[in-house]
Structures are given as C-alpha cells and as structure tokens.
C-alpha cells in the first residue's frame, strides 16, 4: 500500500464503507479507507485481538458531548420544510464522525427486508407526489448477501417465529440473548391480541463470537459505543477484517471534500482530502466508493461541481440529493406503576412486523407502507432530565418517579416514508463547515400518506398499552423531541438506483450511471425507505457491489 496508488478509495468507514473495505481487501485489492472522524480503538489491526477502546458507559460523553455523533458546531446543517423557506441551522439527523460510523452508537437492530418491501409500487400502485418505484433487485438476489453480512458483523436472532419472515438459507449466527422485562410485557399482550412478536435480530453478541465477548447487557447501547466490543460495529468487525488482510490502509481524521473527474466526465481520477494536520492531499486511485451516508455522499457530488459539470458530478439525471427519506418514527409510551428499568439491557429485545404493509382486504386505497414495531427503549438520567426540562421541585419529582427511564415502556413504530423529489439535500448558500465548505441544506416535509399510516397504526399500538394495564399513554412523533426536525437516524435515498439513467442516479449495483468507476455503498442507493431499520440491507448491498467490483 505504501507504494503506488490504491485500487479503490472508500470514503467513510460506517455501515456500508466498512463492508466495502473488507470484501475488496479480502479479494486482494489494495484499499484506502478515508474517514473524517477519529479512530477510537487501539490495536484494531492487531492479529492477537483489539487491545483497547475509548468507549464506556458515559452518558455525558456520548449523549451530550457528541463523542462519536457528528459535532454540529464544526459540521452544521440547515433545515427547511419547503424550497421557498429560509433554512435555519439546526440538528438534522446527525449520524456519526468516527471509525465505524453510525454502527458505533446504533442500537444494532438488523432485520432483513421482505420481498414486499422491494415491490411497493407493484403492491400499492403509484402514489401522488412521489417517485415511488420497485427496486431493481429482489429479496432472492440479496439473500446470500444478507447471510454473509449477518455472519460478518454477528447477528443474534431466532428464525421461524416471525410469520412474515422470508426464506433464509441459514439460521442466525447466534441465539437471542436475555429478554428485557418491558419487551416481554408488551409482546405478551401483543400475542394475546393476535400479533406475532419475535426476538429482534440484533448485531450484538449473545455469546462469544468473532473473537469478541458476549454482551453484558450494560444498558448503554443506543447512542453509546460498546465498552467491551460486544456490539458488532463495523470498526470491530469488517474494518478490522479488512486491516488484517494487510491490503487495507485506514486513514482517520481525513475529510474528503472533492472528487476530480477526467475531462469528459466519464470517470473519477482522484479525491482531495484534508489530513489530520489540516493539509490538503490529492489521492488518485482506480475506483472510488462513496460511503459517507446519503447526506454526505450526495453533498460530496455537489461539492465536486466544475464549470463542465455545474450541477455536480454524476448528476445528469438531476436527481443527486433528491428523494431523501428518513422514515416516520413514532414513540408510543405507556406509564406503568412497576419499575420497567428500560435503561438496563439492550435497547429493545422483541418486535413485530404485523404493521408493515398489512394486507387491507376490501380497502381500495390502503395507506402505503407501514413498518416494523419495536418493543422497548433505553434512556438514562441526563436524557430524561433534558427530555422534560423542568426545574425546582418538579424536576426532583420527575427524576425520582422517573417516568421515561424507569416506569415507561415504549413502543417504537418505524414507518416507511415515500421518496418525494422535493425532499432533498443541496448545498447551503451561506453556512460553512470547519473546513470552509458549504454544508448540507435539508428540505423535508412529510407526505400526506405518512399521516394516514399513523392514523391507522397508532391506535393499535395504544391498545397494546391499554390491555397491558398502562396508567397513562402518550403517542408522539419522534421529531417533536427535536423541534419538529427529523432526527430518526435513518438516512436513505439521494443517489437512488435503477435501470433508467433518467429516473435514477446509480445502476442496480450502485455504480453511477454517469461515471464508470464511482460507486455508492451507503443508504443512498435505496429506492424506497422500506419498513425496516436499514443497516443490514445497506451492508448486504455493499457486499454484493464489492463482489462485483472485485470481479
């Protein structure tokens, strides 16, 4: 690697980029992995085992001080709900800035999509105001890659319980770990009501696996990095695998700000980045993979505009940055007299698929979509105190009774939001990041269908709480905790794949239609948002693409 240019530069070491690096490096290609965040591991490339990390059960560091989450002071974003409005600087679905990306502090829920998720237009027909479409690939084509990704990152789960599950070639690599009290409580009622709960597939070790220990159920999964490497983040799994081949070099604290195309704009020749000391570096390679998450990857295409390509690179369709999707996420809280101590254990250990694209017999216009339901949440005291900002005696009572941390059981509903072309990211005309480049401006408004889905689904989830004996029930869109701005942590679309270069940016393998050696391996290629947490699907798609590149 020290001599000569790499075969492939991968930009971003998160869910997608980590997998790209592993598969390419194991195939013998020379890979350079550029990551804008720090490496918080010691000995990631040590064959005898990872020597240490800078994680920990530290709510201040992770939840408040953005140790791994993107730091909005130096990497701001702006938001507005429609193109006519002025955008304001605010928190818009920040993900990560660290080796391992969002998989460092994700909950780890790793469901597969179903064939119905990839065939949404065939099932429901067109939806006004959207670019809703079927995916150019099927579940069957993706199944072997789901299987590989599940083994590489280490997924616990149990097959053959969920009636909506698609066929699998193999069982889950690990059995489910201990269940959480409030997950069991809610799932029990759901079963009585005729739903079909099953153990959530999660990227956490239930037993020692991949040279990493079993999860200790410490309760600091969501928003925190795992202190003992039991969580299958890409850092401690696929990035490590890539480094161990000797074919992959990881450069942390390197921010890529530009792609340089050849004269006729048919291929990328090099990238430019700012190194840890603030110096600009140009790096040539044979191929390039954007994996900075769909906001940052689209931004990079737009930042790379030249006189020859004023719309940005890869953008002959005009769709780069368009059709951004975040999911519509709802929290349905139930208050219980007994302690549910949701701050212990993994985030949620059971869920159900009954509300994902339910068949609606006799209804000619069923709301499109729906999605996965998770029983369980996790909150710690700083989060609780900031969630309900009260001072004085009320604060003390709030914290002693602890509704959100200790007495609240949460049902999370993750609903598919459709691809709407006016929902998009482009470059903000005035606001800059610490490196001096224009930041992402996000324009996003819910489609009316989203409200229909909520109206039909939320009452069903409230009923589960009622039948379980909740004292008080509250259902809110997740966005209200963030001033109405999306903060779902699921970022999809912006570089959608398809066969037609006029209605998609990338081909069915995530290669740009316009550029022969530029690929996207984060959630940018998603055609629709699906009814599931996206990460395992991002990883399966990245795997399939990398095998194709390696030939």
């Amino acid at each position: 690697m020290k001599s000569g240019n790499p075969d492939v530069v991968v930009i971003g070491s998160g869910a997608g980029g980590g997998v790209s690096a592993k598969v390419l490096a194991e195939a013998g290609l020379k890979v350079l992995l550029l990551e804008k965040g720090p490496n918080n591991y010691i000995g990631l490339d040590n064959p005898d085992g990872i020597t240490g990390n800078h994680m920990g059960n530290d709510e201040l560091k992770f939840y408040v001080r953005n140790f791994v989450d993107m730091d909005r002071r130096i990497e701001p974003r702006t938001f507005r709900t429609s193109a006519g409005d002025d955008a304001v600087v605010t928190k818009v679905n920040t993900l990560a800035t660290t080796v391992g990306g969002g998989t460092i502090h994700y909950d780890g829920n790793s469901p597969r999509c179903t064939q119905r998720d990839f065939r949404i237009k065939s099932i429901y027909g067109a939806l006004e105001g959207t670019m809703m479409d079927d995916w150019p690939i099927s579940y069957d084509e993706l199944e072997p890659y789901y299987d590989r990704a599940e083994k590489a990152v280490g997924i616990q789960g149990q097959a053959l319980i969920n009636p909506y599950e698609e066929p699998r070639a193999n069982p889950y690599p690990m059995k489910p770990g201990y269940q959480k009290y409030h997950s069991l409580l809610l799932a029990d009622t759901a079963t009585k009501l005729g739903y079909h709960p099953y153990p959530t597939p999660i990227a956490l070790n239930s037993v020692a696996y991949g040279g990493r220990p079993a999860c200790a159920n410490c309760g600091f999964c969501g928003s925190h990095g795992c202190a003992i490497n039991a969580k299958g983040s890409t850092a401690v799994t696929v990035v490590r695998d890539a480094l161990l081949t000797g074919n992959c070099e990881l450069r942390a604290n390197c921010f890529v700000y530009k792609l340089n195309a050849n004269a006729n704009g048919t291929a990328i020749e090099s990238v430019e980045y700012i190194d840890p000391n603030g110096q600009k570096v140009t790096q040539a390679a044979g191929a390039f993979i954007l994996a900075g998450n769909p906001i940052e990857s689209a931004r990079l295409c737009l930042l790379s505009a030249t006189n020859a390509f004023p719309q940005g690179l890869g953008n002959s369709s005009g769709l780069v940055g368009k059709n951004i999707m975040f999911h519509s996420v709802y929290s349905v809280f139930g208050l219980y007299a007994q302690r549910v101590h949701n701050y212990r254990g993994r985030v949620g250990t059971l869920g159900m698929d009954d509300l994902n694209k339910p068949p609606q017999p006799g209804d000619p216009n069923p709301p499109f979509g729906g999605g996965v339901v998770e029983f369980g949440a996790q909150l710690h005291p700083i989060g609780e105190a900031l969630f309900v900002p009260l001072a004085g005696k009320l604060h003390k009572n709030l914290m002693r009774y602890s509704p959100f941390r200790d007495h609240m059981a949460d049902i999370t509903f993750i609903a598919e939001d459709p691809p709407v072309p006016t929902n998009m990211i482009d470059l903000d005309p005035t606001v800059k990041d610490v490196y001096g480049f224009p930041v992402s401006r996000i324009t996003y408004k819910q489609h009316p269908n989203d409200q229909l889905v909520a109206q039909t689904s939320i009452p069903k989830l409230k009923q589960i709480h009622r039948e379980t004996g909740a004292y008080f029930i509250l259902a809110v869109p997740l966005a209200i905790t963030n001033g109405g701005v999306p903060d779902t942590k699921h970022i999809l679309g912006t570089l959608r794949m398809g066969n037609d270069p006029t209605t998609s940016v990338t081909d069915p393998y995530g290669r740009f239609h316009d550029l022969s050696n530029l690929y996207n391996s984060d959630g940018g290629v998603f055609v629709t948002s699906t009814g599931f947490n996206p990460t395992l699907t991002i990883q399966a798609l990245a795997w399939r693409q990398a095998e194709r590149i390696a030939g």
């Binding site: 720090p38 490496n39 918080n40 020597t51 990390n53 800078h54 994680m55 920990g56 059960n57 709510e59 201040l60 560091k61 730091d71 002071r73 130096i74 600087v89 201990y178 959480k180 009290y181 069991l184 999860c215 200790a216 159920n217 410490c218 309760g219 600091f220 202190a227 003992i228 603030g278 007299a337 007994q338 302690r339 101590h341 212990r344 710690h380 005291p381 700083i382 105190a385 900031l386 309900v388 900002p389 009260l390 001072a391 004085g392 003390k396 009572n397 709030l398 002693r400 009774y401 509704p403 941390r405 200790d406 610490v434 909520a454 939320i458 004292y471 008080f472 509250l474 809110v476 209200i480």
Partner: protein
C-alpha cells in the same frame, strides 16, 4: 502511533510511569482556586487533576446558588450538595489541563471492575479542539473558529450572566444574588435572561447526573436519589435484573397522578402533535 490512541494501558505497557504525564496541568488555575472549594469525588482514588478551574470566588458562589435553585435540596440532595458547580467550573477550565477535560478516556470507571480510566482524558483531534475552544472560550477573533462568524463562549456567557444576576438582584432586593433568600433567588431566576438560564439548566443537569469523574454528581448523589446504578461495565446486569421488574419503587396511584400532571405540563407545548 497516533497520539489519540495512547491510553493508560498503552502507557503502562511502554513503561511510562502512570497517567500523570497525560493529565499534567499546564496552568495552576487561578490563585485561590485550589481544592479548598470542593473536591472531585473519585470514590477513593486520589484526585490527580484538581486544577484548571475558571470561576473567581464570587462567580463560584453565585453559580452554586443558581444551580441550587434549578435542582434544590429537599429530602434528597440537590445540586449544591452534589457539587454541580465544580462540574461547571472544571468544564469552563477544561483547557487549563492537557489533554483538556472534555472526553473521559474509558472504557471503565473501575466501580464495577476493570481498570479505572474515567479520570483520564483523551487528546482531541485538530477539529475537535476547534469545536471545544469555540464552545468554551468563544471565537475571540481567531479565524479558524469564525467560519460562520463570531461565537460567544461559555466563559463569557457565565461571567456576563453573573454580573446581570447581581444587577437584577440589587435592583429588586438591594443585595447580590448569593445574599438573597431562596425565594428571592427563584424570583430573580425567572426574571433573568432566558438564554443564560437555559445554558445553566443544561449544564446543571449534566453536572448532577454525569459520571462523578467530571466533577459533579459527587459521591454519586445524583444517581443514588433517582435509584440509578450509573455505569455498569464490565459486569453489566444479570438476567434477573433485566427480565424481571424490581419489586422496589412501585409508584402509588397518587404518585402516578403526579407524574401524569408533570407529563401534561411538559407536553403542553406539543399538544397539537400528540397522536
């Protein structure tokens, strides 16, 4: 080796004598700002970095009183007992020590096994340092911190805030904020600049419930009174602690009604958005 990757463990391996090297104070704090005011609670560990405070004695006393209005003492300790002002003081003085007191190293505090590493701090990357200096010290006309214009730092926000609290207190009650009764202090808090109070509220909550190594939550008072175990690695929780409801702490219907009232109050601004 990248500097960031040096942990205590690595240091010991390299034969360097202890972590003192990494937490060596580069300034001795302000005169009179030593450990006399409060000490970091380190659960029996010697305090290695009780330097680098920011407040003068009057600012310290004023902010301590204000945190006490935000989280008062009652049958349980409040922000004053838990030393929240020390947390704020250390945060404002974070860059007086090297590495700055921003990110505890981890992965373990030592409270439940493992080598205690929360009292050591991580070196920041170039851009992380810009971010935290902007936040704490403000941009001060330094170009690399002003990519979106000037930024007022926390140090200035606190210094100005204390002056304004005193001015309001003098006008209304003829004395400085620290010399007022708790009821008078609560009145001044309501009249004070909302942005300043919001900053102090956020920092008070942080200092009350963050790991004690950051200077507040002394003797883990913030965790104990809310029936919370704090950090748990590496032991985590047992199967029974996860799968069963603890028999302690069942809320009575009077308490549940109180909670519901608090929730209604808290969600009142979002009434239209409740589903």
């Amino acid at each position: 080796m990248r500097q960031r990757e040096i942990s205590r463990r690595e240091f010991l391996k390299l034969g360097v004598a202890g972590m003192a090297v990494l937490v060596l104070p580069i300034g001795c704090g302000r005169p009179g700002a030593g450990g006399a005011r409060g000490k970091m609670n380190r659960e029996g560990q010697p305090s290695t970095n009780d330097d680098g405070r920011f407040f003068d004695d009057h600012q310290y006393a004023t902010i301590r009183a204000l945190t006490g209005v935000i989280i008062p003492e009652d049958q349980d300790p409040g922000a004053v007992s838990a030393g929240v002002v020390d947390y704020i003081d250390y945060m404002l003085g974070a860059f007086e020590v090297d590495p700055p007191r921003i990110y505890a190293a981890g992965p373990f505090s030592g409270r439940h096994g493992g080598e205690a590493n929360f009292g050591d701090y991580l070196p920041l990357s170039r851009v992380q340092e810009i971010s935290w200096r902007m936040y704490i010290q403000g941009s001060q006309g330094i170009a690399e911190r002003e990519f979106n214009g000037p930024v007022v730092g926390l140090q200035e926000i606190y210094a100005t805030g204390v002056t304004q609290l005193d001015a309001l207190s003098q006008t209304q009650f003829g004395a400085d904020f620290v010399d007022l009764t708790p009821a008078e202090q609560a009145t001044i808090k309501k009249a004070a600049d909302k942005d300043f109070i919001n900053v102090v509220f956020q920092n008070t909550v942080e200092g009350m419930y963050a790991a004690p190594e950051y200077g507040g939550n002394q003797e883990m008072m913030g965790w104990k009174y809310v029936n919370y175990e704090g950090d748990r690695q590496p032991i985590g929780y047992s199967r029974a602690q996860i799968e069963l409801s603890d028999p302690t702490g069942v809320l009575s219907s009077r308490e549940l009604d109180e909670v519901v009232q608090i929730l209604r109050l808290a969600f009142a601004p979002y009434k239209d958005q409740l589903l």
